[in-house]
Symmetry: D2
Subunit: 386 residues, 4 copies
């Protein structure tokens, strides 16, 4: 027996953090296509994020990227957010967009560069103190392009040293989320290439260090939901960077390329007791060719739909079939939930909380897109690196 | 019996075309790291290419990229090249770096954009007439990011129409080289994703349309030398864009990630009679973190070494073992050639033609790098898009 | 506007061919797990296939594999099938399970082995004459395991020669379906590794030679629906071998690993006018650990559900969004159809044609599984190679 | 400065364990091709292994597979080995070839099957006591084929319980080597799919539990040498199962598909101090189509050549270039070693120890292959499962 009411309550409680950079321009190494109405300041990014929250009701926090979202007064920024029903969320460090980082940041062979990178990480914790953010997300582009370029093991030592220093600096209620990625921008070794490496470091560091799973950062064929189940079992799943991909780190809208995978991931989250605030559900994606705000709305909805389906799995029937070794019956229980059209359920939920049942249509009717297109003229559009 | 003298003669005759853009800055979507001394004009790129040819003796032609290398007077550019012992080579079109091309170029749903892209391709043929270039290399970033975004088949029709128009415009001795690529920057469909698609179009177009193989443009596990053997058998191999990769289109130095693969490719070239001017051997790579000129020199040398090993395969012994079905013996014949250290042979060849046996060391001794670092100050460094 | 009635009519007309070998034992190189009740003769396989057709109403033909399904009297076999409401379908040749084929069949370096393989292929056409089958499906495990083992190009010549001979032997209404596969059991080169190779051969042979797409036979990341669209555009799509996979050629139930991919494939089939008898929709899968008959039923249903969703795509809305370059709207039209729960529609369709709306439940209630478990004792269970 | 004498000493000390099953028949799911002269008993396998050691001088131990190599009297088997200059090596458990293991062994949902599997593992430790083997190698084919089939987390709990029991049973000088594998024969989840999972379990278990790296068990693009470096840094690298692959777990001869990768792996072994008896260098491969004994000899030689090149890397020059951030120079130092033809060095080493410089030729001259072809007639050839 599944419990529709319980599912609705869980969906009501789930929140999805949106990233400030998703509202800005992005692209590939070949071209960044500019779009009209793109924000020019962290404040305007919050304005756009507020639209997403206003339509979906489940996106109350916004992740910041430092230095892209650096401001003089973080308290003012937090206040600006609060006035729009938002909170500032995860602080994302950036130690990959300075010429000094050509050969790495905290793993760089030169101590001076490592120090510069570390100082940036520590500054991010200062910012967390100011914004009240709980999580520091660490992604390092560190790695090498050519065999022999640098010493793999020495780089691990340097990494461990930097992580240790940052860990010591964390406040009592602050956490460090360590992200892994198979490749790009490094093309031979990456210093944190897989969940095992991130896990090993986090284990050494302690309970405030947790692994974050970006759904686009794995080798082809990797079973992501397995990793999710394992990390939850180990108490080391700190959160997600959701996005979708057909090939590499394509950063498409969450659920766009493989909605069944997103469902399987959310099923393991539910199964492993991960549908709690201890696991951060974040988006991290690039809307290179599509309109940005409705793309974020759509992504949030995709996460919700996958979660809804996961919540509708008939756990008793599933367990019974699994225990009986009935392969087809067990698979059928899962597929029954997946094949269910949960859009009516979510529409109902929105209406019950005073929202339009169709967030995308509501956004388009709101006039916001036209307004920003007209008003945001001049200045420098935000983008990767901006 | 292998013939060392014949191998040397073949190596003497082989040339490798270097791309003008390899001398400029490049990077990933995350960051372009600037390097000192990078050229600021097509003329300065030719100066650097001349260094590569001066050290290796086998890189007499330079590929241009339009509009990156657009000049007012191509005859003057050709003359400048000739004065440095160079010729202008393949013309590479670029229909991916304009905001109009957000949804494609010749496959775009809007006829006006398609026309703009086609006009650019035709302009490239005009430039070929001016430079005396034989080959027009066509790579299209066209594709879609999301299922449903556009009609796959209609895009093929548009592609065919554009290719047909360009084909008709080609002069008698001019060729069109059609390049394929699995993905990036498009992340769902790419309009020319594999050799089969390129082959089908070239077959329809006629003998002046040929397929070009970029060694970084395949799905994981693809056997590239098989494709080379097939295209040679079909008379449809127009040339190579050499580079190397561990993951996706990493664009590392040719031979850097998998020297054995480069050897196997060159073996199929030799086996299939492809070591002729009809097959263009070009580099297409990005030196994101390493010095550019010595990286190009090294890449040229890697192609030479792979070719030398391929030429040293004992064809009679190989055929005998293959006919006998002796798997281990046949494999051993190939591996004997691969395991041979051919650097002495190539050093000898260089000395016989008045070159330094160690091109990289000679380059470093030449003072060129210091000179350009000092002199090329101010102005706008060349880079992708510049 | 989509037309529910038209969708139902199309679904009514669609048939899925089931393979005789799916009813027998299968496994991996590590182990074949025996299951109770597995057929011991081609006749018993037809009995099981009749169960699938009786429950689904859309599986009236059965593919045979020679020599696994060799009988003395094919007319008698055809009559036996007809008495159960079935017809004999595609004839699958097998030139990979004889010690002589260690180094290949029609591509073998030894002419005598090639002749033996060719004779088998010609025998298959004889059998087609006897069974009234339209299609000869050719899959060759030919290839090499080690670089140098054999000559890639010579093997293509041998392949072309054999295909030419078989093509000449085909009757006026008979076709040859050439299947490609990236790897396994050959681990270095495979002689027909991709659609391009199959296409090139079929093009040379003529209109009766068509390419067959096995959904498990591609490199990671390959966009299969793109290939489908292309082959339909070229008039060269002969049919499908449906199955599903997470990794390599896993041969799971169709739609099990990536139902969204199966939907996208069926959408391109519908879009390209491929929902006709000219395209053969076949299953080719292995039920290694699950019960075989219900697994086949489930697979047929999965193909139906994907087709139903594809038929429900609102073509006018899609075209309008595509022409407008509205990425999100176009994607949303496709996703609307995919997210629809089509099980009620198919249940309705079944009831209208006198079938149980739930084929799997009906099968389990029928008592067939218990009956064969009890009756099929002794003798040699059918399996791969049996 | 590299030290040729030191390299030779290290090569003299290195040993490679050969697997008893490499001498028997093997194949793919499609076909096992029988070869003449294949052993019929564990004793005959030792006879063949003795040939490999006699020709190479570095293969003194033989890994056993239980139950394939089950005998009544292991002391007698060990004595037989000793008389041929061999020792019995690693004991490999097999809990994947019994019908009971259709849904897993130690992770099976049924307690009775788990107990049976566990008993087999404990029996293997008994055998280790009898043979004096140090290492128990555990590879589990456990996993699932379909989403929902079983509970991922519960299976981890069962796995941990079984491993704990076996760990407790180990003698003081005995070790447990836990192997991971991405997929096959399980096609959805595998219960130990990657190094991270194996590492997490070994860490919990204690110092006698170590990870073993099979070079064919990774997702495409995985950087194996990085894993090697990490595991050495963590003190958790127990050994290798060497083989080579282009696609999946192809089990080709070590070094056959990517000799550069094997070199990079051996470089990290040398760099990380892993060239000691604490790291077991084992082969685990299948000679499906080539002669088995010379294939094993060739594989041993390939490991030696890769090791030799790794030992010849000029460590001082490499470190200097790495510290200086000179990407090209550092890469060149590594490539210089790789491009060296080390066959003369190894031939010299063999001659100094009284061996023929060309082990394969010496084997073929020895008459052993003809002898076993003539003598081993009748009986049941050993093979996977035999």
């Amino acid at each position: 027996m599944t419990d529709r009411a319980a599912a609705k309550a869980a969906l009501q409680a789930q929140t999805v953090e949106t990233p400030s950079w998703a509202y800005g321009n992005s692209g590939t190494r070949f071209k960044v296509f500019a779009q009209p109405g793109v924000p020019r300041t962290p404040y305007e990014k919050l304005d756009d994020a507020a639209q997403v929250h206003a339509r979906t009701g489940v996106a109350p926090t916004v992740a910041l990227h430092i230095p892209w979202d650096r401001v003089d007064d973080y308290a003012a920024l937090a206040k600006y957010a609060a006035e729009r029903g938002l909170r500032l969320g995860t602080i994302n460090s950036n130690v990959f967009q300075d010429d000094d980082y050509r050969l790495g940041s905290v793993c760089h062979p030169d101590r001076a560069v490592r120090r510069k990178a570390l100082d940036h990480l520590l500054e991010c914790v200062d910012i967390m103190d100011a914004t009240g953010s709980r999580d520091l997300k660490l992604w390092f582009s560190d790695g090498t392009n050519y065999p022999g370029q640098d010493d793999i093991r020495a780089r691990q030592d340097r990494l461990a040293e930097a992580l240790g220093t940052v860990y010591e600096r964390l406040g009592e209620k602050q956490r460090m989320l360590l992200e892994y990625k198979l490749f790009e921008p490094a093309f031979y070794t990456t210093d944190v290439p897989d969940w095992g490496t991130a896990y090993a470091h986090c284990l050494r560091l302690g309970p405030k260090a947790q692994v974050v799973v970006d759904t686009g950062h794995h080798a082809p064929g990797t079973n992501i939901e397995f990793i999710v189940a394992l990390l939850l079992r180990e108490g080391k799943l700190g959160g997600f960077d959701f996005n979708s991909r057909f090939y590499a780190d394509d950063d498409l809208m969450a659920g766009a390329a493989d909605p069944f995978q997103l469902f399987r991931i959310m099923y393991e989250v539910v199964r492993g007791g991960g549908l709690t605030p201890d696991v951060a559900f974040m988006l991290d994606q690039c809307h290179n060719i599509e309109q940005k705000i409705p793309a974020v709305i759509r992504s949030v909805m995709n996460v919700q739909e996958a979660t809804a389906k996961a919540l509708l799995v008939d756990g008793d029937a599933l367990s019974a079939a699994q225990r009986a070794g009935d392969v087809l019956a067990a698979n059928a229980v899962l597929m029954d939930a997946y094949n269910t059209d949960v859009r009516p359920l979510l529409a109902e939920l929105r209406e019950e909380t005073g929202l339009d049942p169709d967030p995308v249509a509501a956004y388009h009717r709101s006039g916001w897109q036209q307004r920003i297109t007209e008003e945001r003229v001049g200045g420098q559009q935000a983008g990767w690196g901006a």
